[in-house]
Subunit: 408 residues, 2 copies
């Protein structure tokens, strides 16, 4: 008799975005005349860069001719893309990464979700709170999280590290045994980033404790501040303790086109085994490579035209986030993020709950945001807004919110 | 201190195709004047169908405009593709599958590799011998295989079901407890297929024992015989005991373009849990959908032009396989497959070992094949050849092999 993985049954439903959508829909149906502007959107809206489009068309055309047709490719990705990454994402920042340390994938969600496979089930995992839910859920599915406590909204074996305004959104080093730590910088959802000194503290701790840092750098392209590393490998010692995840989703609008990569340094060894070799085994056994066409599109991001074009989109989104942050700040809210991120994270006024403020903004401003409590207990009392919408809509939404706040 | 998944360290190296490549390279270097024809190739060689190319270009163009741009799509795949599958892969064969039972992926290797995630680690797994190595390796990585015995070339907790000429390549029902069974029909590597009555026996057994059949139908498009089901769901009772994997790789040349799908019926329940719900949770948590562009290309396979075009390629490959099988048979070898498959599986002459016959053919015929022993102990004494090459090259290779066999 086949038995299921019972860890799946422990997972609570993932209600955040469906509940947000449900409330928006209900409000729209009750008030069909109101135009709702969504600052809740977590997806890019601008089209792919012309250089990427051109490369995609060219790759499709290659697949149309026997002479240029590409069948199975290397599971780790094509050298044309791995080498471009080595040069431009790393060497240009003074970091030497070998191309064999780069594993091209269909996106950072897959990599973040699958990386646990190469670790034993008894490792203790630490995550920031609030947090991107994939880190926690995939560990729960692997039996690493213990049991879920609905009352406090957390798992018994996961170590939660609050990141709030009180600690400047910098997680404190754990005071108990932790083996794997997920860090996301710039962070989803808080929009804040860890600077070089803060990352150095984490890298030193990880090396001292033989822990492994799983570093999610999906938003690195939004970084503007000099002391915020784009890669954890800019920090001394990171190659012996960190795996890094990158994505073309927010960098180049690939959320629906799908490409990302993981960096697993050869110097990263645990239990005497090379994690690079283990991840290589994972990818060659459970994955058959990212679409050739998509890899060609991703490589075009690294051309000079590609870089200029994606920069314009990144600036557009971040500028929207700045508009939101500035508007909320002027209206008296405490707002964070936006400097190195498309996200703004703001405290609710008058100690309103996340969902209360969500409902208030939806009803009075006709603006949709995302309640911070949905990202973890320490997100209560905050909302998340994103710069991924239209610039004019964003300005109008901020005006509406300000008007509501003035009359609270 | 982080600990690794020690099951990875138990895996033997995957030497088959690298050893084949090494011997071909060594021979070529020693005999630079000889032209080697590869019947060992396991990848398609013909370009994508024009209808697919057209759809890919159109989808790329959609990604170039904000109005038609597609960001995150449903993790389970777009309805335009799921509905085409429901209609043409299933309803057209009298099988009712709901679109919510279809999960679009980046290929059958990912699905076959990941499906174990929703089952407990203590299930007993059975595989055919010879077999596609992914089934075994991924279970070994999950701790379900026990220990590897290099001498007999097998794992202590895996149940191996020999499929050889002696039993007509039909695996016998297990005489011990088995919870999960991988069946591949038409089979890689033997090229043989299970007919309706044989599959019915397996489905009845699985329902009786609450086992689950993991049915790999990646080669179904090559089926010509009426009594060979294209889907296991053509067999009564399969929806309560089987998950099916499909691929566009061999069907439509997508080995480098990447698309496949899994079918997980809602009627499939174990431990009181819906496997459809569990797989949905896996895909929504660890995967972010298949590239929109690629899904549009896959959907074009189902247009009338697409169907006509892919049929021509499938017939071309199968015709090559028929050429190989007929030639070897006339030369006195026992050859199998090719009727419903691009693969030919043949007994070596005079009880030669797989690798001995490989070396003999490479040296005397300058033809590369794949030694059967590489697919499992019961593959010893066989070779695999494929119809994926050029038709004229295939005819010449067969002539060369016949000439060698006549002088043995």
């Amino acid at each position: 008799m086949a038995h299921i993985n019972h860890n799946y049954l422990k997972l609570p439903g993932s209600y955040l975005f469906s509940e947000v959508a449900r409330r928006i829909r209900a409000y729209s149906e009750a008030h069909p005349d109101r135009e709702i502007i969504k600052l809740s959107i977590g997806d890019v809206t601008r089209p792919l860069a012309p250089a990427v489009i051109q490369a995609l068309h060219a790759a499709v055309e290659e697949q149309a001719q026997a002479e240029t047709f590409h069948g199975y490719g290397p599971e780790q990705g094509y050298d044309f893309l791995r080498c471009a990454i080595v040069e431009q994402d790393f060497r240009a920042r003074g970091v030497e990464i070998d191309k064999d340390e780069i594993f091209i994938s269909d996106g950072a969600k897959s990599d973040c979700g699958n990386i646990g496979d190469i670790f034993s089930a008894d490792n203790v995992v630490a995550v920031c709170d609030p947090v991107y839910p994939v880190y926690v859920d995939t560990n729960a599915m692997a039996g690493r999280a213990g049991d879920y406590d609905a009352r406090r909204g957390g798992w018994s074996r996961i170590v939660y590290m609050p990141t709030t305004a009180e600690n400047g959104f910098v997680p404190a080093l754990p005071d108990k045994t932790v083996d794997l730590v997920y860090l996301c910088s710039p962070s989803n959802p808080t929009g804040t980033a860890l600077n070089r000194a803060q990352l150095q503290t984490w890298v030193d701790w990880a090396n001292e404790h033989d822990a492994v840092i799983l570093f999610d750098a999906a938003y690195e392209a939004f970084i503007t501040q000099d002391d915020v590393p784009h890669s954890i490998y800019e920090v001394e010692g990171a190659k012996t303790c960190a795996i890094e995840f990158r994505s073309f989703s927010k960098t180049a609008g690939f959320t629906g086109t799908r490409c990302g990569y993981a960096v697993v340094p050869k110097a990263l060894v645990r239990d005497g085994a090379s994690l690079n070799a283990l991840w290589n085994r994972h990818q060659t056994t459970k994955f058959n490579g990212t679409s050739y066409i998509v890899q060609r599109g991703a490589a075009a991001v690294y051309t000079s035209e590609g870089q200029r074009q994606i920069r314009a989109d990144i600036d557009y989104y971040r500028s929207n986030a700045q508009t939101i942050k500035a508007g909320l700040t002027e209206a008296g809210l405490e707002a964070f993020g936006a400097d190195n991120s498309p996200y703004v994270w703001a405290k609710t006024p008058g100690n309103l709950g996340s969902w209360e403020f969500f409902d208030l903004l939806l009803d009075r401003a006709n603006v949709a945001v995302t309640p911070g409590a949905g990202f973890g207990p320490s997100g209560e009392g905050y909302i998340r807004m994103t710069g991924f919408g239209d610039a004019e809509d964003t300005r109008r939404a901020v005006e509406r919110i300000r008007s509501v706040l003035e009359h609270l």
